[in-house]
Symmetry: C2
Subunit: 502 residues, 2 copies
């Protein structure tokens, strides 16, 4: 690993974030919430820290795939750290672990909160909270469509062909090209949603915050009752549509909307399964709610269920109803959907629809082989035959996922948290959803959990968001054995040459 | 499928079982529990039903691998049906679904019971209950070491090389050879355990019933408080040892004990992982119980925990303590162990240790590939390279397992059962353990569940026990497309020839 080059990138990202930390200032002035100094201080600290890293270490244009793992993990941790400062300086969240939890929940687009009452925070801080979502979502799109397919982690190499932009060996130019194209879509969607929400009567501030949280499939709202606060069918419909869009592979949006090939959507097996899952889940839960007598009118049932299913499957986590009071079968189905998550290449979390699609194709192939022992079976995704490495990658992903899940559940329940709360807290964070069940249910929050449990959940958000392998690779000794001692800027100048090939 | 030949085998098995149905009669006479007529009637019905099948259909020596699926599933269902009669005739269990539940729980060596108070049943019926375990266990050893490896289901082909006896193409002779060898071990273990338990002061009846339930990793006891009833460290120790042995691959016992190659045990990676899992789980749970202040004395803690861990991991389900009152982390760990289960080729249920071993080897391989992209990775089990088909088989197994698990959980909770009870009931039956948590916890039973939930759980026991694929294959249309119309005996005689090659 080219340690110096990696730290230089982190430094630049911190400086970039310190600019974004200035965005809430006009809002703070407008709402006179007294947070101008806090944001200036946070921004200055970010610029200082980033500046030091850039000053110490030279940029390295030869950063390779392996360095990508370190860049990804360290930048998410670094940005979440810097992003936690405004919460801390607001004085409303006394514990820094809580601030870090909230910020990590933002940047990983999870949406779990430690706040019992959202409105206690100043408006500008809530805007910052939504901004962490939006920036995290930008990072995720690039991570999942530009970086991970090249690294070949967890079966993401399937999306290699789908990446817009030219294929190059080096990481940096590749990321820039793909990012430019995909971010165009992301920004466009955000602008349209802001407009539509404002047409529905929301203030610019509320529209902005909710659009940020929707497109990132994050789930932070500016209100304790989440989207339920607005009591508006129109607002809920707009948000359902944009949550749905955010859960789709962004390269499909690029093909379908920007390049005008709308048929691309229906050619994608993953997209079809994603839509089917939503439809089937909505129908089942509506029937169960009807039998359980939860809603008097079918419209209320349809409205609450469709919102909740899309919110959960896309791992957004916005709420309009407390599904912890729905019949047990609804909760089991919603928790099952939590594991599925959005499509690959979307801002949604979870295991991802394409992995389940492949997973069940293997079950069907094995059944077919048992009935017809002489048949030679292959697995295809669309028209493309799934390469052999993907089998190992998918198997490995599911096993790593189970390992993370079981260890995290053991650690969280070891702090004394009850079994339903503990396990669904892990599910909600590892899949970047937001709310779980029982004491971390939609009407509750994560604030009351023991500090150790919060630390484990912070790790879950990070690991889940970065597709596990990125984090797991950094935990292997083999990775660090290849890390070089960082070369400082003055050492390179003295040696009069750039760092060689790794 | 050679339908006639399959039905002939089922008929013979029913006749065989009708002989076993006579075993409890001397006990009924000894205890004067008035069940002689009931057993005679059950036996007669079995002989009649079996006789009709044998009379109608000619034996078919050309039964192939595919017919094995039908034989396996139909025989378990048929035997469980016949085995349910004594419960029904006893008059103590008025619902036939409950009787079938109890009998299926016996033959699948699950050990879940619908009885609130075990002792209400006559002694001879309780002996029959234990006998269903023992016979089910015999079936499982042959299924997992002689039939499934040849069928190549769910990765069981790994055990092909380990099967004692010659390799032949046809199913019947192969099964006979393997069965003879493995049943010797099974019967020997049973006899030794009976002796050891009687030395500890148990009556012949109690020793027999508990040995049957131990070797089959079943879990039916003759007492409501299960093994806890005896309040004896010696008895618990004997049962721990034999539960442990029953959870080991029986071909290892054949190599290690009968052929005298004791080193075989330590050469098996699966065996080593199995032992390590027990040790690690015992230590963790003891520590958690100590912090939770559950036991006053460390000996009581060690005794209860080691019994419970071995009982759960081997999927026996005997109890000496109500672990539903242990700290949450212990319950999460025990539930995790429920999924693991015993070694392949043992009488234990669950996903099996060897599948987890492979599963995590794939995660390690994927991590290694990410750090060293040019390295060529292979997976080995012992010294043998794991064949390519096993990758698909294992992936397929895990996905089929998740599908069964989620659907069953949805169905059970749809009947209104709460989430913890419903999900752990599915876990306890699909992995053939016995007790779950909450309302189906160790001190509770399955009797109060709705009938529909019981039916789903009966299916879970069957599917779990028969390694899912056996049952799933029978649910595919492709399998039945190849089924022939059954040829009756008189048709064959008229045609003057035997049925041709399939």
């Amino acid at each position: 690993m080219r340690t110096g080059g990696v730290l230089n990138v982190i430094g630049k990202l911190l400086i970039l974030l310190s600019f974004f930390l200035l965005i809430p200032i006009p809002f703070s002035i407008y709402y006179s919430d007294g947070m101008v100094k806090a944001f200036l201080l946070s921004s200055a600290l970010g610029a200082l820290l980033g500046g030091i890293l850039v000053a110490l270490f030279v940029a390295d244009e030869d950063l390779g795939f392996r360095d990508g793992f370190a860049v990804v993990v360290l930048s998410w941790v670094g940005l979440a750290f810097l992003g936690a400062l405004p919460f801390y300086f607001s004085g409303q969240v006394p514990s820094f672990v809580d601030c870090f939890f909230e910020s990590m929940s933002g940047f990983t687009t999870t949406g779990s909160t430690i706040l019992e009452k959202i409105e206690v925070l100043p408006e500008s801080v809530l805007l910052w909270r939504a901004t962490t979502h939006w920036l995290g979502g930008m990072g995720i799109i690039v991570l999942s469509l530009a970086i991970l397919p090249l690294l070949g982690a967890g079966g993401m190499q399937l999306f290699q062909a789908e990446m817009p932009g030219p294929t190059k060996d080096r990481l940096a130019p590749r990321i820039q090209d793909t990012a430019r194209i995909l971010w165009t879509v992301y920004v466009l969607f955000t602008l349209v949603e802001i407009l539509l929400l404002m047409l529905g009567g929301l203030t610019f501030y509320d529209a902005l915050c909710h659009s940020f949280a929707t497109l990132a499939t994050g789930g932070f709202s500016t209100h304790t009752e989440s989207v339920g606060h607005f009591q508006s069918v129109y607002i809920e419909t707009v948000i359902i549509i944009f949550m749905f869009l955010a859960g789709v592979n962004f390269s499909l949006h690029y093909q379908g909307l920007i390049r005008g090939r709308v048929s691309s959507y229906w050619k994608s097996e993953e997209f079809k399964l994603y839509v089917s899952l939503i439809v089937v889940a909505v129908v089942i839960i509506m029937v169960a709610n009807a039998f359980g007598g939860i809603y008097e009118h079918i419209q209320d049932n349809a409205r609450a269920v469709s919102f909740q299913v899309v919110s959960i499957l896309t791992t957004t986590g916005f709420g309009t109803a407390d599904f912890d009071h729905w019949p047990p079968v609804c909760k089991v189905l919603l928790v099952s959907l939590m594991f599925v998550g959005g499509c690959g290449g979307s801002t949604g979390g979870g295991i991802k629809v394409f992995r389940f699609l492949l997973f069940f194709k293997y079950a069907r192939l094995q059944l077919h082989t048992l009935v017809h022992p002489k048949a030679v079976g292959t697995i295809k995704m669309g028209r493309v035959r799934v390469p052999r490495e993907v089998k190992v990658a998918i198997l490995g992903f599911f096993s790593l996922y189970s390992a993370f899940f079981i260890f995290a559940s053991l650690l969280v329940t070891a702090t004394g948290v009850d079994i339903v709360t503990g396990i669904t807290a892990v599910i909600a964070t590892l899949n970047n959803i937001g709310p779980g069940l029982h004491l971390v249910g939609p009407a509750q929050n994560f604030g009351h959990l023991p500090v150790l449990a919060k630390c484990v959940l912070i790790f879950c958000m990070l690991a889940g968001r970065l597709e596990l392998y990125t984090v797991a690779v950094l935990l292997t000794p083999g990775f660090w054995a290849m890390a070089r001692k960082p070369v400082f800027r003055w050492q390179q100048i003295k040696n009069g040459k750039r760092d060689g090939v790794s």
